[in-house]
């Protein structure tokens, strides 16, 4: 396992390269090469560790691992693999992304350093065993992500949006401090491996559980803590928004899994709470996404949706844990884990895709795009694969994880009987509803951005080979996990059975007829290709030509007569007026010679505008009222800090 340590060293070494030779193409290329090499090296050590070996025997050699501050259990290794797998294509993309800024003469050195530190600290988070190390790396991860978001700090919306992220991260970290200190007090140890099997009754148990779940839930962006996602993602540089959405919010999921592992039990009410919040996050996340026109904002809301889907799996697992039913736990947690992997892959793909478009067109507003398929067909195919996968449609990977979660519902209904079938049907309908809305949303962005004709003149549309490479790697995994899920299911099953659910080996996940599903999917793809070529033959015989589209006899069709994103989504946005505050301002042209007409629409996030913002406002009012020790000079504050520390130290000294 020492190889992993060297891999991390190599990754950090890339900082030195770019810092010593500042800001030119060669330095950037060398640094990216080194980082990619480090990540590949890391993956080549962590992947075999996850798949082939018994994880309890793995560790750094004792020199590198004083007092067991690292550990390599299957759960951590699983997340480590996800991080490295996603970081590789992101780094490849980062090379061509930063090149644009170097060309503009902007310094990218600091940005790259933050990027590397973020990747490295995230990797250490999942292998950290010592709680303090975990917290330090967690803090480094959050802060470097914040600094990365500030790349274009002269813009106003960057300042406000990133501040939301910073504030939310700090609330989460603050709760985590309390969480881990309480755990330390309980077990008298700082090692997470000693936290296992804590007592699971009493008020402290409930307090600890809620603390952990809230802190990690804030990080992953469950509703109502989702508000930082749509604010921070659009303004972040693409490499950061891809990594934020693909990986960092998954660290919250990692934390929730760890929290569960500490107690190895979840009460039933908690299962229902998590399931309910997750369903709400999923449904509203996708519904709000549908009303967005900013591609990155839209994808950020989709992250909320997918975190919701992961949460549904976790909720089902919790219910299984409450009833001590192994199959339910395996299917619930298994679906959640696999969806974590899947979402990391396709969300990174979509974010990088949107970054490529932003780089070329200089806008994130999908209403001014169109016809991009005629510029690059291959790019559209890659983006389309990601879109189909995220909508949960066969034959790609999104379907596989949602299928497992549906199976979790079925098994819960079957095992627990009573009124459970009813509740599970409602959850299943919720998930199916989310799927339907996701289809509506992704047909919207794909057709508005890529299909039809260009709405605005495109001066250049160039996609570099690095961008193609990074997108292709991600799309390849979308297809692979969809068409041949068996090995990935095997890995998830191993993670769950290796000290996560129980010692008993359960094969609930492997019992699903994956081979049959693979055959169907391969047959599906083969049949599509076959019929496609048959059609070609038929067309050769009976003719084929290209003509203008049907316009009721009107000849002057132009790009302005296409359906727009708002009109496409209007049908759906109109319905839930009370849920989604969707404003339309229509000024229709009047008179015989109409001069002007206008239409504008925008949507408001209800949880955001009606609950959170007023709460924040009144909170800040309250705090303003109690701030009597307010000075403009920073030296006063340093003095206050010193005084406080002295008082604490004296008290602590006297206490002992």
């Amino acid at each position: 396992m020492d190889l992993l340590f060297y891999a991390l060293v190599v990754q950090i070494a890339s900082i030195i390269v770019i810092a010593s030779v500042r800001n030119n193409h060669k330095a950037s290329a060398a640094a990216h090469l080194l980082l990619t090499a480090g990540l590949v090296l890391g993956l080549s050590s962590s992947f075999p560790a996850l798949v082939f070996s018994n994880s309890s025997s793995l560790n750094f050699s004792s020199l590198l691992n004083p007092a067991n501050i690292f550990r390599f259990d299957s759960l951590g290794l699983f997340f480590l693999n996800i991080i490295q797998l996603v970081a590789i294509p992101t780094t490849i993309y980062s090379h061509s992304y930063l090149r644009h800024y170097i060309d503009e003469g902007k310094s990218v050195t600091s940005n790259f350093i933050f990027f590397v530190l973020m990747i490295v600290s995230t990797q250490v988070v999942v292998i950290a065993n010592h709680a303090i190390l975990f917290l330090i790396c967690w803090e480094v991860m959050s802060t470097t992500a914040y600094l990365g978001i500030l790349f274009e700090k002269e813009k106003r919306d960057v300042q406000t949006g990133s501040f939301y992220y910073l504030a939310v991260s700090h609330v989460a970290v603050f709760l985590l401090y309390i969480f881990f200190f309480l755990l330390h007090q309980q077990t008298n140890s700082w090692l997470m491996s000693d936290f296992h099997n804590l007592q699971n009754t009493g008020s402290l148990f409930i307090l600890l559980y809620t603390l952990g779940l809230t802190a990690f839930g804030i990080k992953s962006g469950f509703m109502p803590f989702h508000f930082w996602l749509p604010r921070a993602h659009p303004i972040a540089p693409t490499i950061f928004s891809a990594f934020l959405s693909g990986i960092i919010i998954k660290m919250g999921i990692y934390g929730i899994f760890r929290t569960y592992q500490f107690f190895n039990y979840a009460p039933e009410w908690l299962g229902w709470l998590v399931l309910g919040i997750s369903l709400i996050s999923a449904i509203f996340g996708v519904w709000y996404a549908l009303a967005q026109h900013d591609i990155k904002r839209l994808l950020a809301y989709h992250s909320v949706e997918n975190i919701g889907i992961i949460g549904i799996g976790i909720g089902v697992g919790f219910i299984g844990s409450a009833y001590n039913s192994l199959p339910i736990q395996i299917l619930g947690f298994g679906g959640a884990l696999l969806h974590t992997l899947n979402h990391a892959i396709f969300k990174t793909l979509l974010f990088i895709g949107s970054g490529v478009i932003y780089q070329n067109l200089g806008t994130r507003n999908i209403e001014s795009m169109g016809g991009l398929v005629h510029r690059s067909r291959y790019f559209f195919i890659l983006f389309l694969i990601g879109s189909i996968a995220i909508s949960g449609l066969p034959p790609f990977n999104g379907f596989i994880s949602e299928f497992i979660i549906f199976n979790g519902f079925f098994t819960t209904a079957k095992e627990l009987k009573n009124y459970y079938p009813l509740l599970m049907i409602i959850s299943a309908v919720g998930l199916a509803f989310v799927g339907g809305l996701a289809v509506a949303c992704f047909t919207k962005i794909n057709s508005i951005m890529f299909l039809g004709t260009e709405r605005k003149e495109i001066k250049k549309f160039h996609i570099s080979n690095y961008e193609y490479l990074s997108l292709s790697i991600l799309a390849f995994f979308c297809v692979l996990i969809g068409v041949y899920p068996q090995p990935f299911i095997g890995i998830v099953n191993k993670v769950l059975n290796n000290g996560f659910v129980t010692a008993n080996h359960s094969s609930e996940l492997l019992n699903i007829n994956w081979l049959f599903i693979s055959i169907i999917f391969i047959a599906l793809l083969a049949a599509i290709i076959l019929i496609f070529f048959l059609k070609r033959l038929i067309q050769k015989k009976y003719g084929k030509r290209i003509s203008a589209p049907w316009g009721c006899g009107y000849e002057g069709l132009n790009y302005r007569m296409q359906y727009t994103a708002s009109s496409y989504a209007d049908e759906l946005n109109e319905i839930p007026k009370s849920i989604l505050v969707y404003h339309k301002k229509v000024q229709s042209p009047k008179g015989i010679f109409p001069a002007k007409g206008s239409f504008e629409s925008h949507s408001v996030d209800l949880i955001d505008s009606k609950i959170l913002l007023p709460a924040f406002r009144s909170m800040s009012k309250l705090i303003c009222r109690i701030k009597f020790l307010s000075y403009t000079d920073i030296r006063y504050y340093i003095a206050f800090i010193l005084i406080t520390i002295t008082i604490y130290s004296v008290i602590a000294f006297l206490w002992n």
């Binding site: 066969p394 199976n407 009813l422 299943a428 799927g435 289809v439 057709s447 009976y542 030509r545 049908e571």
Partner: protein, 308 residues
Amino acid sequence: MELTTFVRGIISLLVVLGFAPLFAGLVNKLKAIFTGRLGAPVLQPYSDLKRLFRKETINANSSSFISVISPTINLVAVVIAAAMLPIGFERPLISFEGDIILFAYILGLARFFQILAAMDIGSSFEGMGASREAAFAVFAEPIFFFTLGSIAFISGLTSIYEIYHSIRLDNVTYIVFIIVCSISVFILAVTECSRMPVDDPKTHLELTMIHEVMILDNSGVDLFLYQYSSYIKLFIYAILETSFFYPFGTRSYTVAIVIFVVVITTLSISLAIVETITSRFKMKSIPHYLLFATAIGILNLLIYTFTV
């Protein structure tokens, strides 16, 4: 899978593929009779398909490869969905634990590409149809899960074939439950197959269509593939409906076949009657109609859960 079950599954699938246009023709003929017209022959859909097959294909100049690939994806997805349905008490070609989910989602894939292909043209007509299709599909999805899905959850079986075979007629509440479910499936069929009162396939105005307007710019083999898959889709929902009557015919083959034919005919008559006596809803009220069906499903389920 044994060879004989495989062959039988293939035969069932071929039955679906072969008779699908006939069913559509039957409905149209009956509808014509009810409205006092002579109507086209029952076998008209076959002639239509044959004619389309031999026509030249015209693609819009703004379209991309999506328009080319979408018809084939549509047909393949619908055929795979058809292969999951049991005819009589025959085990279908594709049958495994959880195939009910695949059934719903593979039809979703077909819809995904149908919508994309419509938007590919870049004309408002297709955009309108696509927007409506996407919106109504969102509300149709829950109906499926409240009907077939709820039987699955109650019986604990997750394969469509087994779900239908679990239907027993020994409990009055259960019978009522099944009957209401079949009504919901009927509403679902009307929606998904773009029949009246949700969509009018025979209207002459592009603004009022849903499905037809999406394929407005297709012709030749492309239209053939779309048309054929929509016939199969209609037949799929007809089979979903007839399958509720399996418990009556578990004894012998002939009984099962007779029941199948009788129920399919009754169904086509009722479809034709509905299409004759109703007019198309306003677009705005279609979601209400679908939510109404969903509400029936929920109520039905609640009543069943709390009486058993």
